[in-house]
């Protein structure tokens, strides 16, 4: 009976997203039912111990359930020649919605996390300005602030896919260098106006207060557009690993340019050509020329469930879900395929479709117990469509790895094991 009601919209079991709407209220036959009324359900209805003893009282700073403690970032091996360097990746396959909890936001550091006393920190604006200025943290807290939800993605995210391998990869290990938060701070343009930008200034050089004094250059047009000096992340002061007491936030652009522990903005005629915009974060092409200053992150999506290293126990109905984003706008459409890209169905957008922010998509899928290849394909508000891996490789070859936004393929085997594959 339920079979007749399920409208199939693409090959290998994808079900109309319209069925999602009624699911919560009626189930519409989508929820697999294991028991028959009148039989022993097997559920223990004895009053549990936690309902018989008062728990601990309020605390000063919350902590999560010990039963969710396994939801963790993964940290890369520490290289002794690179003290404090490295990355941690967000556990995308265990998260829902679009906001990354602060303690699970991905990190990438070049010389570790500085332990900054805000009373000893300053933000300097100098160079091609009418009046060089220094701001204390206390000064900046008094400015009018703006808030926006933005994704942040490391330029190196998903780069492993271009080189191949990673058959045992997970959403976290391959794609975990993307996160999303509500960032609150002062428009950089406000502070630049106060200093008075001289007409010959074409770039700003932003420098952090970490041990690497990491620097990046940003064209003045962007600096005066939507860049902010962020002081708060999801409502609380920016975490040390994200730049406390303040970071630059450059919406939509490669993560490295959102300089953490921001301490200097210098107006310049040209790009400063820092190490991290020449030797790093540039992409060498097959002809051995190299793209430099690839700023906006591409239109991208991936399925976070089912995803690599998960296993499906029984044939039946599953909710496919994932995240999509674009550095050039909002997500207007996400399509999902269960047959390796031969046929596609539109997924539902769950919640908000914000500019340069993660967007959650979902679509029901009936797994028939046979092989499947699950893919998602995002389209942004400017009409950019997420490319296949073959398209990226044809354009750029495989000797670079930054700025990869290709379609991810997850294979489901007959036994329900989900793995990273290349199709």
């Amino acid at each position: 009976m339920t079979e007749k009601k399920l409208e199939k919209v693409a090959g290998n079991g994808l079900i109309s997203r319209r069925h999602l709407l009624g699911m919560g209220a009626t189930g519409v036959g989508l929820a697999a039912s294991n028991s028959v009324l009148g039989q022993n359900s097997g559920i223990n209805f004895e009053i549990p111990g936690w309902s018989r003893t008062p728990g601990p009282g309020p605390s000063n700073y919350g902590s999560r359930s010990r039963y969710t403690a396994a939801v963790q970032r993964s940290t890369a091996f520490q290289n002794p020649t690179y003290p404090g360097g490295g990355a941690s990746r967000s556990p995308l396959q265990h998260l829902q919605g679009t906001i990354t909890p602060n303690a699970l936001h991905f990190e990438r550091h070049h010389a570790g996390i500085p332990d900054i006393d805000p009373a000893g920190h300053k933000l300097v604006i100098n160079g091609l300005v009418r009046q060089a200025l220094a701001f204390s943290y206390e000064d900046l807290l008094k400015y009018p602030m703006v808030s926006s939800v933005y994704f942040l993605e490391c330029a190196g995210n998903s780069g492993a896919l271009l080189r191949g391998g990673n058959e045992d990869g997970t959403a976290q290990s391959i794609h975990g260098l993307v996160s999303c938060a509500e960032w609150t701070g002062i428009p950089l343009s406000t502070l630049l106006d106060e200093a008075g930008v001289l007409p010959e200034a074409r770039w700003v050089a932003a420098v952090g207060a970490d041990a690497a004094s990491m620097g990046r250059s940003i064209p003045i047009e962007k600096a005066l557009d939507d860049v902010m000096v962020a002081l708060f992340q999801n409502g609380e002061p920016v975490m040390p690993g994200q730049g406390y007491p303040m970071r630059l936030f450059v919406p939509g652009w490669e993560g490295n340019i959102s300089v953490k522990w921001l301490t200097q903005i210098k107006l310049t005629r040209a790009a400063a050509q820092f190490r991290d915009e020449t030797s790093k974060y540039s992409d060498t092409l097959p002809d051995r020329s190299s793209y430099q200053f690839t700023f906006p992150m591409g239109t991208k999506s991936l399925i976070t469930s089912p995803s690599g290293q998960m296993s499906l126990r029984n044939a039946g109905i599953y909710q496919i879900t994932g995240i999509a984003w674009s550095g050039s706008g909002s997500i207007s459409r996400v399509e999902v395929s269960a047959d390796g890209g031969q046929t596609w169905a539109d997924a539902s957008i769950q919640g908000l479709q914000l500019d340069k922010a993660l967007t959650r998509f979902t679509i029901p899928w009936e797994w028939n117990g046979g092989p499947a290849v699950l893919q998602s394909r995002a389209t942004d508000s400017r009409g950019n469509v997420q490319p296949t891996r073959d398209v990226i490789l044809a354009e750029r070859g495989n000797i670079s790895f930054y700025h990869n936004h290709c379609i991810q393929s997850w294979a489901v085997s007959n036994s329900g094991e989900v793995t990273n594959v290349y199709v």
Partner: protein, 179 residues
């Protein structure tokens, strides 16, 4: 009567002031400073020569600085101890991903000075004097065959160095979003 009106208005204005950007009463809290205040703080050394300190050094002088501070990670001759630490050699025409060494990849000599001064040695960044940074920059350029052992590296000579891969980059900085 006057007070009755003014006080509520004042309260409303104060409340709004924290919520609304008021172009009439902009917050302007920056402390005026001079560029001279920033000597030692502003470490940006640009390709056009701005931001470089006075003084200079040669590769011959830089060998001792390198051997003490750099060789432990970058190897006695810049051959490195892991992928990211290789700073000499490399070949952009190699079959696999290029090594991105100073000599084969880096487009500007200024970046070598700028990066060493701000970030190296990794265990004790900013512990070298400006003279030592000039010297060790010269030594790294010398090991890459770009300058001579006794070439004086200073603000004037450094900006005139043509790096081998200087023309190897495609500037995409005009692309701010993808249409």
């Amino acid at each position: 009567m006057y007070k009755k009106i003014v006080f509520p208005l004042l309260a409303i204005c104060i409340a709004l002031n924290s919520l609304v950007v008021n172009s009439q009463e902009r917050v302007r809290l920056g402390t005026p400073i001079s560029e001279a205040d920033l000597e030692g703080f502003d470490l940006i050394a640009e390709p056009d020569g701005s931001g470089f300190p006075s003084g200079g050094g040669t590769a011959r002088q830089g060998k001792a600085v390198y051997d003490i501070n750099c060789a432990v990670c970058h190897g006695a001759n810049g051959e490195g101890t892991s992928g990211n630490t290789i700073i000499v050699g490399g070949d952009m025409q190699s079959e696999g991903p290029p090594l991105r060494t100073v000599g084969s990849y880096w487009p500007y000599a200024s970046t070598v000075f700028d990066f060493i001064r701000r970030a190296m040695p990794a265990t004790a960044p900013k512990s070298l004097t400006n003279a030592q940074v000039y010297q060790v920059t010269a030594y790294i350029l010398f090991m890459n065959g770009i300058i001579g052992e006794d070439t004086e590296l200073n603000a004037n000579t450094l900006v005139n160095i043509e790096m081998p891969n200087a023309d190897g980059f495609v500037d995409r900085s005009h692309i701010h979003s993808i249409e």
